[in-house]
Structure formats: C-alpha cells, structure tokens
Symmetry: C2
C-alpha cells in the first residue's frame, strides 16, 4: 500500500455520486462526457472532479472527455462494487419492509441476505423472499456468512443496542436509518440516512426567494 | 441581496451536517467546541469548517472556540429552519408509513401536513394522525396551503409522473426516495435519498482491508 496516496474521505464520498450520474447518462444512451458536463449536473466544479479522479490515475484524454462505460468500470472497481456485498437488515417494521422490497440495491452492488427483528409476532413471517429471523440468531448468522454490512431500521430507542450487537458479531459497516447518533468503535464505518439533512439543504434556497 | 456573497452549493450542503453534529454535542451537555473538534467528528478539515462558516460572518473567537448554542442558532437561521416548513408526502406504502411515523422531522424544522396515494384501497384510511387523500386532490391542497416541499415515496415507475404533478401544483423542493433520476425544471430543488450512495462510501474502505 506504500505507493498508494491516501485519498481524503471527502473525495471518496463524491465518487458514488459521480458513479450514479454516469450510470444515469449511460441509461440515456450516452457514451462520452466531460468534467464540465458532469460538474454542471452535480453542482461541483469541473476542476474538482478532475482533481478527485486524478487520485486514481489518468482517465479520459485532454479535449476528448471521458468514455462513460470505461469511467463507470473504473469507479465500480475503485469503490469495490464490481462485486456483490451481502447485507443484513435489522428491523422488520414499515421501513424494513420498504427496504426488503427496494429495487435499488442489486444494480449497485448489494444483496440483502437476512432480516432480523425481536418481535415474536414478526419472527417467522415472510418478508419479500426472506423469513424474518430472531435477532438472537444474528451473531451466528453474521459469523457463519461473514457478513460485513448491516442496515439498522429499528426505533431510535433500540438502535444503539442493535448497533452494539452488530459490532460484537463482526459487522464492519452500518447504514443507520434511526434518527440517533450511534456510538461505535473507531474502526466501524457508519453512514446515516437522514432526510432532515437533505430537506435543510433545500430550505436554504427556498428561504432566499420565499 | 447585493451585499451578500454567493455561497457555493457544496458549502450550503455541509451546513446541515455541522448543525446536526452541534445538536448532538448540545444533547451531550456540551457548551463549547472548536473547528478542530467538529472537524475530527466529521472527517472534514478544521480549515474547511472555518472557511465555510466565514461566508456567514464571524463566529467564535480566536482561541476560545464556538459557543455551541449560539452557533446552532446561527445555523438554524441561515438554513431557515428557525421556522417550521410544511411538507406533503406522496406514497402510502411501507416507506410512506415509516415516514409518517418518523420522529426526526419536527425537531429539525419540518411538519408533515398531508399524505396522498392513488390506490382506492388506501384513500380514506388513517396513517398516523392523517387520513390518506386521493392524489387528485394534491394540486388544490398545495395551492390552498402554499406547501413548497414534497416527499416522493412511490414506486420508481410512478415517480416522474408524481414529480410532474407536484411541480405543476407549485411545489418547489422535492425529496425523492424512488430510485430514479427525476427530470424537473431547473428552478425546482431535488434531493435524493439513496442508500446505495452511502453503502458505496463504505465499501471503498471495507475493500481496502477485506
């Protein structure tokens, strides 16, 4: 790893956004794009995009832009979503059911392999192609299947306890839907799905005109 | 507005993240913080945080840091969430039910005022404190109540049509949960809730060790 330059987290954070925009362009039947066009779509400067990509080598040619399928492949490899990652879900409420049916995971590199809940009324019931399992079986499942990613969709009051259980079982990355800040060891990755963050990014502009 | 410097979108995008971190600190009983501490919590450089905040005036004093309650108040005013924004929700499926019960909106400046669906089986049924309304009533409701924000939680196949209806009715900001890219006029603000983006930000790091 000595030769690899450490990439700032904030740069890594933008790569999936570039990938999504490129995949939208590909779906539109496009083959070539430029940092200018990408930048305009995303509200990011073209210089920033070129700088971000330069951490990972040379993409595209001066003046001819990027070949979209190639850049998609590069980004998928960089983000390690040129493979499929198994995930578990904890919480089989309304949100859990929505996530179990979500069509956006598979094409982006993720596969839900098990769903857990602690409610005896729910355990054993079908949810999409799965059967809801007792959360007490989570540690064994995670170890047996070497799952690294968990999505937490339980009420806020239960989320920390569930996170602790996941970490203890060997989960290394958590996508948290509960509206609380999780306390986990530094080595554990956590991302938050937080609609209020996105709403507040819009009210800034609404307020300017309203 | 002539005297106000245009703030880059990417800076605006970070303000709600700062606000959330400060509110977590406040909940922990903290009164003072620094750009260093905030930066460490968020994986953003302290220089970046100071620069972002400098667009909006002078906060804190050299060497003494920021008073957390003051900075929270400033950010709430800048983001215009020192008031409450009415929102509508379209889609009363599992995700819609989860959003209707979500506890994270009210403390952050948002209030759900109506829920719409096009399914005759669902229209008229209660959902939390609301009754599901026919989506055909959306335009009149939006105009009568001057609602500016809509959350779209319908299947991908219906999302563009719903977005068109919202824009036509006068909605100015859309939070889209459907896994598709919406085509809307430039003046309309759109944010996407996209779990795959967050998952891909983590696999980059998982892959490095896995």
């Amino acid at each position: 790893m000595a030769a690899v330059q450490k990439v700032p987290d904030i740069v890594v954070g933008r790569l999936p956004v570039y990938l999504r925009a490129l995949q939208v362009m590909a779906a539109e039947g496009r083959e070539i794009t430029s940092s200018q066009e990408l930048g305009e779509r995303l509200g990011i400067s073209s210089a920033q995009i070129r700088k971000d990509l330069s951490y990972f080598g040379t993409f595209g040619k001066q003046g001819t832009g990027y070949r979209i399928p190639d850049l998609i492949e590069h980004l998928r490899r960089i983000l390690k979503v040129d493979r499929t990652w198994d995930m578990i879900l904890i919480g089989a409420g309304n949100l859990g059911h929505a996530l179990a049916q979500y069509q956006g995971f598979t094409p982006r590199g993720f596969r839900l392999v098990a769903i857990f809940d602690n409610d005896p009324e729910k355990i054993g019931r079908p949810i999409g192609p799965h059967v809801i399992q007792d959360v007490q079986e989570l540690p064994e499942f995670v170890r047996a299947h070497r799952v690294q990613i968990a999505m937490i969709a339980v009420p806020a009051s239960a989320a920390q306890q569930v996170a602790d259980l996941c970490v203890e079982a060997g989960i290394r990355a958590i996508l948290n839907y509960a509206p609380i800040h999780l306390k986990v060891p530094k080595r554990i990755l956590v991302q938050y799905i937080d609609p209020a963050i996105h709403l507040q990014q819009m009210t800034y502009y609404l307020g300017n005109e309203g």
